[in-house]
Amino acid sequence: MFSTAIIVFREVLEAAIIVGILAAATRDVPRRNRWLLAGMLIGLLGSAMVAASTDLIASFASGVGQELFNALVLGVAVLMLAWHNIWMSSHGAELASHAHNVASDIREGHSECSVLLVVVGLAVLREGSETVLFLYGIAASGDSGTHSMLFGGLIGLLTGIAVGYTIYAGLLRIPMRWFFAATTGLVLLLAAGMASTAAHFLIQADLIPALASPLWDTSALLPENGLSGMLLHSLIGYDARPAGMQVIFYMTALTLIIIGMKMNAKPRQSIQTTGTI
């Protein structure tokens, strides 16, 4: 039962952290909860579908379909998070100050909500499908301990959600003047971490070279399967033994998003000075 709880917790944690951070980052977007819920429901439905077609997905691209699928899902999520941060860098402060007209609020809120929908949906889909497969395996084995193991799964699920909610609640307590910097920074690292994981899958599929594998090994210092390693993996994309290519993907995503934010932030100064009186 305990081991089941840990496995499910590990899968749920990553999605829960992503949802927690995004929920906080979009707290002033109108009708945010509806989109958040829709994203989770679509993700859950999708994860059942992905789990059911594991064999089919795996058989694509001469056996590396699963890696391509994961890399694609992560790639789309990185683009959406990048777009969120770049958009927020010019509109976030406005949105928070409630200083501009409602029509544009809703229009801009809409595109922001689609980011929320897609990223949350994809996060739940990716991590959820593995959980579904794992629990299916337990249920299908028909062993005597099935019930207690499924109960363990439930505990793992709830604990993972609790961590995600704690992060959300913690972020909301951050004073307003640091709030955007904090959530933007977290989303930035989230996106870079996902880019690194996408590279990990492309390397595993042998589609891109690893370039020094591993580049460093901090597994003795901070193992990935320990609690802090798991948290850091989900939060900032920590990898105890990253390939050189993963680090390149990480740094590239980080740099490009920062450049995008800087370029987009310029006109904001003028809006702010006239808009926040």
């Binding site: 594991t54 064999d55 699963q66 794992f134 299908a140 599929a205 594998s213 033994r241």
Partner: protein, 105 residues
Amino acid sequence: MKKLTYIFLLLPIYGYAADTDINIVLQDHRFQPSEINIPAGKKIKLLIENKDKTPEEFESHSLNREKIMAGNSVTKIYIGPLEPGRYPFFGEFNEATAQGVIVAK
């Protein structure tokens, strides 16, 4: 765009060129053989046949690999080139029994 297409068409060939195949069977949540010797410094293709009807997740922290294996299916995983050493792997869904190690020499 055209260039990109060509590169993508060539990718499978690039992947195909340097393989050494290793066959592993997963049955009753155990890997057989559970210890696999491979040459160091070479790219290896693991072909893991899951004879169980339940899915399993191949995972190795030291190899930096994770892949879901459907029940009754064959899964392909590329590893290496590796430094000489021992690289443990396990089935995450049945960690108590599904254990193995790659030994690169």
